[in-house]
């Protein structure tokens, strides 16, 4: 029996079982990360056949339709925008290329719920457009179209960045070969360039789809109901077991997308490779200025206008004394929960990443997957799980700010893991072995040799988690203890009461912080 266990253990760890304490710590971290989601699924089993049947009959089809149609629509627009912009910026003689390359990524710094608020201010029934033209836009912002527009405008950079990176890595050789075989520039684009970009576009599209599936703030602000907002209102106003049922359906939907992505990636045969000789630029000729107008228009809609709205209301807000002690209190709360999450993420990322890197095996891969559980899934589900789990098993943590930090860690730890992992990949395993033969135990190796060496990655990961946490809305809303609001919560509350002069300064602070990790993102793609 003991021998069998040992054999199983050896196989799981690929014959290289790590230090016991290290694997226990990593396992604990992974379990904590996966627990909230697992608990939601587990609880849904207690919803009963009747509830399941009723929801599957009445609610789920409508929510599936509203959610999937939005995801598909947003993705289609984001892909069209992102690919067109990437091509213009990387492959044509568009004026000001260098500037557009990073400014067109800026919408990622604006959380879509903030963007939604800005567009309600502009296009809403009582918005600026009505003030200027005397009538609100013919299509209400509170509609499928409104949600489609706002989400597409703030998510296209995912496609833009990934496609742009692929374009700049892609050598010119294939395109030249096609030209030599008689294809015109448009033929090359259609038959060579786009097909070769397929996997990059697909990767960007998956990011957009996953975002739309998980977004709560924007759709709720725009009164468009998808799974996330349905789950939110279900657990607030109605029974929570039904919320778990809806969550399970959404989890399944998310896993489906992730599965399709993995499948697609496996099938992708085109690896744009080769030494990237700077591509010859397509001369736009007379279209140059049209293209420039298009880029400027996108930038205006996705960055200048929303930020302008925030600045406008912030100026009014500051004049009205919005930056009072309460505001700084909210800012401090935000910094504390986000800072706590960043700190814990830095500590928790290393053991999992270290095992994955140094003990590549079934077991370490499984631990890593578990740690990713909260990442792809919507914040409302993570919060739902943490509430359930926290009340029963972590009463000392429940209803404290620590709970919010924990939710952030569950949601964003993989960001720290990725960043730490890429730092660790640069450190040869021989370094670890050298430290071992110098007499250090495995844990001491991590503490004394690895930690200092991966510090840049750890810090970058912490910064990423910090910024993501600042923006986070649904889990914060659901988990905040009495008397503890964050900036994101205030944006949400004030905007829902149309008190924009109080919402805008907080939103502007969030946006300003969110610009910081863009540099990291841009370096990466």
């Amino acid at each position: 029996m003991k021998a069998t266990l040992a054999r199983i253990r050896a196989r799981a760890w690929n014959g290289q079982p790590p230090d016991g304490r290290l694997s226990v710590v990593a396992a604990l971290i992974a379990i904590v990360m996966a627990m909230p989601v697992a608990y939601v699924v587990w609880r849904s089993a207690f919803a009963g056949v009747d509830r399941w049947a009723r929801l599957l009959d009445t609610r789920v089809p409508g929510l599936l339709w509203s959610t999937v149609s939005l995801a598909v629509g947003v993705t289609a627009i984001a892909v069209a925008l992102g690919v067109a912009l990437a091509w213009l910026v990387h492959r044509t003689d568009l004026p000001g290329q260098r500037i557009w390359r990073w400014t067109l990524a800026l919408p990622l710094a604006i959380p879509p719920y903030v963007g939604a608020i800005a567009y309600i201010v502009v296009l809403g029934p009582r918005g600026w457009v009505r003030d200027w033209l005397g009538a609100p836009p013919p299509v209400s912002i509170y509609s499928f179209a409104g949600a489609l527009f706002v989400l597409a405008v703030f998510t296209y950079p995912y496609v833009f960045l990934v496609t742009g990176a692929a374009l700049s890595r892609m050598g010119r050789a294939h395109e030249e070969a096609a030209r030599s075989l008689g294809l015109g520039p448009l033929g090359v684009l259609r038959r060579i360039t786009l097909p070769m970009l397929r996997s990059a576009i697909g990767a960007g599209a998956v990011l957009v789809i996953l975002y739309v599936l998980s977004d709560f703030g924007a759709v709720a602000t725009l009164r468009y109901t998808t799974f996330t907002s349905a789950i939110y209102y279900q657990m607030g106003g109605f029974d929570t077991l039904s919320a778990t049922v809806l969550s399970v359906v959404l989890i399944a939907l998310t896993l489906l997308v992730l599965g399709a992505e993995t499948f697609g990636r496996r099938r992708a045969r085109f690896h744009p490779s080769g030494a990237p000789r700077p591509a010859d630029l397509v001369e736009l000729g007379g279209w140059r200025w049209t293209a420039l107008g298009f880029v400027v228009a996108v930038l205006t809609i996705s960055v200048l206008l929303p930020v302008g709205v925030l600045v406008y209301w912030s100026v009014i807000g500051v004049a009205e004394g919005a930056l009072d002690a309460r505001f700084w209190g909210y800012a401090l709360n935000t910094a504390q929960v986000a800072g706590g999450a960043a700190l814990v993420s830095m500590v928790a990322a290393l053991p999992v990443v270290y095992l994955r890197s140094r003990h590549a095996s079934l077991a370490s891969a499984a631990l890593e997957r578990l740690a990713y559980a909260g990442y792809a899934l919507p914040g409302v589900i993570v919060a739902l799980g943490l509430i359930f789990f926290g009340i029963r098993y972590l009463p000392w943590l429940y209803n404290t700010a620590g709970m919010i930090s924990l939710a952030y860690v569950v949601r964003f730890l993989p960001q720290a893991m990725q960043s730490t992992g890429s730092s660790l990949a640069l450190v040869s395993p021989r370094i670890d072995e050298a430290a071992r033969v110098s007499g250090l135990s495995p844990l001491a190796v991590i503490a004394r040799v690895i930690t200092p060496l991966v510090r840049p990655g750890l810090l970058a990961g912490g910064a990423l988690v910090f910024v993501s946490s600042i923006k986070e809305l649904p889990a914060t809303l659901l988990l905040r203890p009495a008397g503890f609001d964050t900036l994101a919560v205030r944006v949400w509350v004030e905007a829902s009461e149309s008190v924009y002069y109080l919402a805008a300064p907080a939103a502007l602070v969030i946006v300003a912080f969110s610009v910081l990790p863009l540099k990291w993102l841009l370096d990466r793609y």
Binding site: V437, S438, V449
Partner: protein, 354 residues
């Protein structure tokens, strides 16, 4: 006295059917310099990592000094085996300076003194404050060696230490390392796939193939008298010829003629065998009994590698590789005569070359 003993050690990596190290037994004498030599995948690196403790054997046991460090009931982690190790890419801690690398994890009381001593030994006195990236390849090598020696380990393990050095430095460092190890007086185990490194630095060479030991011997024994075809071919360049033991027992009769041989395993005359004739043992000699036509001649600086086609008694031809002194002038199509020196002719087994 044996410092390291491996007793029927087997190690199989999960997911791979054939063992990386297969029931390997080996004793390494205290103070000796041993090289595990073989092509990649022969198990030499695994053997070294088994000794270091980075891999656990599936079966068998390993002891270092008095202690059993791995076995059915024993396991000593690498940090407590008292071994030093030098890695292929040196693996210096990039965030620490030379002194901190060499003094890494030494007791504080003796650290400064020991660091100075060891740096002196490797000829790097005064480099204490340099960072690893500020050092040349050879200097990094010395630091790596110093770090491995600083804690006065019973055993130093060196994993392809010269592989990352360029040719000139490599020759120089071989001699240096040899000197340093001798001064330090430790047992050293090298891993190498490079025969010239192995021949130059070792007291004993262990030639490995497919997880097993092919031959153990001094560099001279390995080179002059390979026991197997594999060793003959892997270490140095050779000509393998079919033949049989001559009537006098001190020669072999081959297709190209009779060659003197002092290494016949005392096989009875007439036994069919394969003979390894080193290219170095074929000497051009205008009076030599063998003759052939030069097919290819490559000038290498140290010698001329000539491929000579020999007419056989049965009317066929055979190609043999001959090393000629570089000052000789040989061109394709020349007819040459040569003879066989007995020192480098070895019988490596029964039967033909197959």
């Amino acid at each position: 006295m044996a410092e390291i003993v491996l007793d029927t050690v087997t190690k199989t990596y999960p997911g791979i059917t054939s063992p990386a190290v297969d029931a390997l037994s080996l004793e390494i004498k205290a103070g000796s310099v041993v090289t595990l030599l073989g092509p990649s995948g022969c198990g030499k690196t695994t053997t070294l990592r088994l000794i270091a403790g980075f891999e656990r054997p599936d079966a068998g046991s390993i002891s270092i000094g008095e202690a059993t460090v791995a076995g059915p009931t024993a396991w000593v982690p690498p940090e407590r085996r008292g071994v030093g190790m030098v890695f292929q890419e040196h693996a210096l801690f990039p965030h620490l300076d030379v002194a901190s690398n060499v003094g890494f994890n030494l007791p504080r009381a003796e650290r400064a003194e020991r660091v100075a001593e060891t740096l002196e030994l490797v000829d790097l006195a005064g480099y204490d404050r340099r960072m690893p990236h500020e050092l040349s390849g050879g200097q990094q090598q010395r630091v790596a060696l110093a770090r491995a020696l600083a804690a006065r380990p019973l055993v130093v393990l060196l994993d392809e230490p010269f592989a990352s050095l360029d040719a000139d430095l490599r020759v120089h460092m071989r001699a240096e390392v040899r000197r340093i190890l001798a001064e330090a007086g430790t047992t050293a185990v090298f891993v190498s796939h490079d025969q010239s490194d192995a021949l130059a630095i070792s007291d004993t060479i262990v030639v490995m193939r497919d997880g097993r030991i092919e031959q153990v011997g001094s560099p001279r024994e390995i080179y002059q008298f390979p026991h197997t075809r594999f060793v003959a071919e892997f270490v140095g360049r050779t000509n393998l010829l079919a033949g049989r033991i001559g009537e006098d027992g001190d020669s072999v009769v081959t297709d190209i003629g009779v060659a003197p041989c002092r290494h016949t395993h005392d096989l009875p005359p007439g036994t069919p065998v394969t003979v390894s004739v080193r290219a170095d043992s074929l000497e051009l000699d205008a009076e030599g009994p063998l003759r052939g036509v030069v097919r290819e001649a490559t000038y290498t600086g140290r010698s001329i590698d000539a491929m000579v086609e020999i007419q056989l008694a049965d009317g066929g031809t055979a190609d043999v590789l001959v090393h000629a002194h570089p000052e000789q002038v040989i061109t394709c199509g020349d007819e040459v005569r040569f003879r066989v020196l007995p020192e480098f002719v070895a019988v490596i087994g029964e039967g033909g070359p197959g």
